[in-house]
């Protein structure tokens, strides 16, 4: 039965190849490695506006990814966005007055959360809330503010500042 042994080997190789391809797809193409990293602790941050922030967006500290956005919801009392961040256990010593801001990677890139450590000795514990937050910059608001301030500037020069409080 030399022939059937050959055939079995062929099938075995084929199965290995297929499973190997799946493994590489899992490890190299998709973010399964990032998955394991999100075994960490959850902290909460409230933002007035999260812009285009998505679940699973990265959380960085000094540009280094340290966690992921786990969940986004609206707080029923404050009507603010309540974002749950999962931070890797490796970074368990973040000060309690760490602040969180929403940034955009490049002009049109995805949004992520940047952490800025504060100076307190006490550290953030699982379930704690980050008090200092800065909302996402919404492009329309930015442009609106810019136009308003330019308009205000020109009108001031016209009326010679008569009505300024």
């Amino acid at each position: 039965m030399q022939n059937s042994r050959l055939l079995e080997t062929g099938v075995g190789l084929f199965v290995l190849l297929g499973l190997g391809a799946l493994l590489i797809l899992a490890l190299k193409v998709s973010n399964i490695s990032a998955f394991q990293q999100t075994q960490g602790y959850d902290v909460i941050a409230q933002f007035q506006n999260i812009g285009g922030l998505k679940v699973r967006a990265p959380v960085t500290l000094a540009g280094v990814p340290v966690g992921r956005v786990e969940n986004i919801a609206v707080d029923p009392k404050t009507f603010e966005a309540r974002v749950v961040l999962t931070i890797s256990d490796k970074y368990a010593n973040l000060p309690q007055d760490t602040s969180a801001s929403i940034y955009t990677a490049g002009l049109l890139g995805e949004q992520y959360i940047g952490l800025q450590p504060g100076g307190m000795d006490e550290v953030l514990k699982p379930g704690d809330e980050i008090m200092l937050t800065q909302s996402a910059v919404v492009l329309e608001q930015l442009i609106g503010q810019f136009l308003y301030s330019t308009a205000a500037g020109t009108s001031k020069s016209n009326t010679d500042g008569g009505q300024e409080p």
Binding site: V11, F14, L17, L25, V29, N31
Partner: protein
């Protein structure tokens, strides 16, 4: 006009009856699947016939599909200055859609048609009947291992197709067009989710493997046992299973990626 209506009714009834026969047939074959545990050799033979022998066409097609994706994606993305996202585009299109769908279409042409022709010819030459008279149930001995073999082979083929395609896109994007290779991989990893994209792709190809092989074996068993009947059944296998794959793909996509 009346004649036309009569014909239409007849065709509709025939199609409904075929659908019913197909499902009853499936039920009988599924009942035969547990018996295969004692005969793994039969399934291994079928994985060889449907899987290993389709490997070359799958790998080559995957490579070219990936390379075309790389080229087209680059040309579009570069006008937004977003060519760094090429890896995301290539990997997402392949894992979610092109990998499962294109490999299922190729599989129906390469392996499905062969299955139908093989079973159809066995029927035409009374081999199936002969087997039945030897007290061997052809639905268990012939059909069940082929169904299982096809269901195992296609997901593996689709995974190989996808991986080869990603490397094809990588080759065109980074080696030929100069996208940064680090950005290619890191953006891909950041955006492609294992559970949502890779696993859903595998689920899709499992479903497609089942549907294509089921169509193929049913057409074989159900064909008119003449050379003309077998050739028609083979054509029907490719047409019906391709349409079924594309239709199911829409439904599955709507369910998975809402």
């Amino acid at each position: 006009m009346i004649e036309w209506l009569r014909l239409f009714g007849e065709q509709t009834l025939a199609a409904t009856a075929r659908l019913g026969r197909g499902h009853m047939f499936l039920l009988r074959v599924l009942l035969g699947l547990p018996g295969l545990l004692r005969r793994p050799g039969l399934v291994i033979n079928q994985i060889y016939a449907t899987g290993v022998l389709s490997l070359l066409i799958i790998a080559v097609s995957g490579l070219f599909v990936g390379m075309v994706l790389g080229l087209q994606g680059y040309n579009t993305l570069v006008s937004f200055g977003a060519e760094q996202s090429l890896g995301v585009l290539v990997a997402l299109s392949l894992t979610r859609e092109l990998g499962p769908v294109v490999s299922a279409l190729l599989f129906s042409g390469r392996a499905g048609s062969a299955l139908t022709a093989e079973i159809g010819l066995m029927k035409a030459t009374e081999q199936l009947s002969g087997m039945e008279m030897m007290a061997v149930d052809p639905e268990r001995r012939i059909v069940a291992p082929r169904l299982l073999g096809g269901m195992i082979a296609l997901p593996l083929l689709a995974a190989i197709f996808t991986l080869v395609g990603v490397f094809g896109g990588y080759f065109v994007g980074t080696v030929l067009l100069g996208v940064d290779s680090g950005a290619f991989w890191s953006q891909m990893q950041a955006q492609v989710s294992f559970t949502e994209d890779v696993v859903n792709g595998v689920i899709k190809s499992l479903v497609f493997g089942f549907v294509v092989t089921w169509t193929a074996v049913f057409e074989g068993v159900d064909c008119t046992p003449t050379s003309e009947g077998v050739s028609r059944a083979t054509t029907r296998t490719v047409v019906h299973s391709s349409l079924a794959v594309l239709g199911l793909d829409f439904i599955l996509t709507a369910l998975m990626f809402d």
